[in-house]
Structure formats: C-alpha cells, structure tokens
Symmetry: C2
Subunit: 139 residues, 2 copies
C-alpha cells in the first residue's frame, strides 16, 4: 500500500490519520509525526520515518502550517528525497491525494490543481447557503 506522511506540532497529524482511515479505509498507509510531544527532536523523528522510503519514490508530506518548524524541518530534506511538501493541510487535500495515489507518480500540475480545489473547500457555510438561496430565488 502507498504511504503518505502527515506531520504537525503535537497530535493534529494523528487526528488526520484517524479520520482519513475512517473515510478511506485500506486506501493508503498514513505515517503520522507528532512533534514536540516527547523528548525526541523533530529531526530525529523525520529521519526515522524517511528511512522507510527510497531516495527515488515520490513521497507526499503534509504539514500543519507553512511557517512552522515542522514544515521547515521537511524543507531541509527536499534535496535528499523526492518529497512533495504540502502545508496548511485540510482533510480535502488529503482525501484527493490519497485517492489518486497509485503506481504512477502524481504530476505537479495535478498537485497544483488539487491544492486549489482544497483551498476552495475552506468555506464560510453561512455565506454559501445564503448565495444558494439567492440562486434558487432567481430560478
């Protein structure tokens, strides 16, 4: 089964893993990294996880916030592995990438497109319902 990495300050990564496994069972193996929770450096945690991958295979890594230290730690590994690093993770981007993972690599344009889609899923639902109601009134 294909593997992805989700990494965060504390337990958010584990939350993503738990919910993604519920929504998409047996689709992808999710390796979660919870930084600063135990007395182990984030660099050591990351190196242990990356040792499960080859230098050539496409590795998807999802982190919590772009400016955070967890994301910075993965930036330092971008030249050593074939990492696709996505930050600001929400469940939508995880679902869309997890469902497309297969034998072939996912190309960069597809990744860009799925990030735009996932960003559009951060929705102010009150507004969305109001505009849907207006649309219905127009019909």
């Amino acid at each position: 089964m294909k593997k992805i990495i989700v990494a965060s300050h504390h337990k958010l990564a584990n939350g993503f893993k738990n919910t993604l496994e519920y929504i998409l069972p047996n689709t992808v193996e999710i390796i979660d990294i919870s930084a600063y929770l135990e007395n182990v450096s984030v660099d050591k945690q990351i190196d242990e996880v990356l040792s499960n991958f080859t230098k050539e295979e496409q590795i998807f890594v999802f982190t919590d916030i772009p400016g955070g230290s967890v994301n910075q730690a993965f930036i330092r590994r971008l030249n050593d592995y074939n990492i696709e690093l996505i930050s600001g993770t929400n469940l939508s981007i995880l679902i869309s990438i997890a469902t497309q993972l297969g034998e072939k690599n996912i190309d960069k344009d597809t990744i860009r497109e799925e990030i735009i889609n996932a960003a559009s899923e951060i929705v102010y639902v009150n507004d969305k319902l109001a505009s849907q109601s207006l649309d219905e009134d127009d019909e």
Copy 2:
C-alpha cells in the same frame, strides 16, 4: 474564556484541539466533537455541546469537509443559534479566529478575509521555494 467548537468524522477534531492548545495555550476553550466513534448519534452530540451556549452568542463551529454529514448536521442548527459555520478547516483558520476572539463579535467581513488567508496557506511548498529562488536570482 471564549469557546469554539471543532467537529469531525472520528478524531480529527481532537487533533486540532490538541495542536491549537499547544500553539495558543490559554487562549480559547476548544470543544471537540468526534462523530461516529461511539454509539451516540452526531445530532445528540451536537445538541449536548450547543446547550452550553446561549441562543444569542456568536458560536464558531469548524468542521472537516463541507459535503460531510457532520457539517450537514450543523447546517440544520443555523437558525436556532448564532453559529458561524466554517468547513474545510485547517490549522491556519483556527489560529486566526482563536486569536481574534474577544468580548465583541467578529464581523462577517473579517471572517471572509481570514478564510481567504487560510486558503492561501494551503501551499505546495516545492513551488513556493522555487519561486522564491527565482526572485532571489532576479535581484
């Protein structure tokens, strides 16, 4: 302390709570709802949580995905409470709303702006670094 609700299929909500409490300690009380984990209906879980709020106070609710049943369950309560319902949650939108919560309500334009900001934080880091490197080459 001001309260916010984070709700998801399974444990993602708890992950957001755990990480937000680490990044912004003592800023906001986070009530997490993990749906379909135990033999209690999501409606019952939500009604129990909402009973801690008055009908007038502004309640921020963050859910996992817009099309999901957890989000739908909150849509059914929009007319009964003063709920601001945001879906597709990532850590950035939680941080920005949590840091602005105070005695006054957050106005709708601010919520819209913060959603746009949070959406722009879903970043393909490889691309961002490449464009930064190009910018530096131009200097």
